[in-house]
């Protein structure tokens, strides 16, 4: 990085610690500029990290897990379960006679647990009033910027099976 060093034969201490008072303004400005450029490098490295993660991204393999029996919950009722791991809490709502939807219970804003508001027919986060659509998990209002991840359900016989997380 010698090409970044200032020219001349002055020792480094003389460049960084000005002898004259008037030069002090230059030293502080140059140091601030260096700090800003290093921060810029940090932002660039962050973007590169995201790019590398994108290139080497592998779609996760989800287990197939029975989560409820058909008719176990009434229309408008809710069941909580964990999928794909015990730490991933989910919420399932029966929206019609044969209609079930399921989403991650973790709000995409700050990970508070969302709950189903039957009166408003939407999922609500009590922490910062983030509201999500019951149809597709899209954000209706509030600080969350991403929809709730959806749990794909499949009916097999009398059982509802969780097969995948989307989003």
């Amino acid at each position: 990085m010698n090409w970044l060093r200032r020219g001349g034969n002055e020792p480094l201490w003389k460049e960084e610690f000005s002898v004259r008072t008037a030069d002090e303004r230059y030293v502080t400005r140059r140091q601030l500029t260096k700090f800003l450029v290093l921060t810029s490098l940090g932002m660039f490295v962050g973007n590169i990290w995201i790019l590398v993660r994108s290139i080497f991204y592998k779609a996760p393999i989800y287990p197939q897990q029975p989560v409820a029996q058909l008719g176990e919950i009434p229309v408008g009722g809710v069941k909580l379960f964990s999928y794909p791991t015990k730490e991933d809490h989910c919420i399932m709502i029966r929206t019609g006679e044969d209609e079930y939807v399921s989403y991650s219970q973790k709000c995409t804003h700050l990970s508070c647990a969302v709950y189903y508001s039957q009166g408003e027919n939407r999922l609500e986060c009590p922490c910062h009033n983030g509201f999500f659509s019951i149809k597709d998990g899209a954000v209706l209002q509030g600080p969350p910027s991403r929809p709730l991840p959806r749990i794909v359900l499949e009916t097999r016989g009398e059982q509802l099976i969780a097969i995948e997380v989307k989003g």
Partner: protein
């Protein structure tokens, strides 16, 4: 009102450095926004924005680096010319 050519060399240098620093600060703000937007996009499952964002961020970093070299050169020149005062 005095023009920049009428200013003493020390003040001219300071003005140039302040201008370059302002540009760097603006570029940095854009880079911070770009990183947060790319991360948001990546987390929501869209992985196609990562490459153009990385290229754009790299270009902005190179511009910042160029401006730093400019600041360094001006600093060096003005302080050398100041030695003769």
């Amino acid at each position: 009102m005095r023009t920049s050519n009428e200013l003493p060399p020390q003040n001219r240098g300071l003005t140039a450095i302040a201008g370059a620093m302002s540009l760097i600060a603006i570029l940095l703000i854009v880079q911070i926004w770009l990183l947060s937007a790319t991360l948001e996009s990546f987390l929501s499952g869209n992985r196609h924005t990562a490459l153009p964002a990385a290229i754009f961020s790299g270009v902005m970093f190179l511009i910042c680096l160029g401006l730093y070299a400019f600041v360094d050169r001006v600093d060096s020149e003005v302080r050398v010319s100041g030695d003769g005062d």
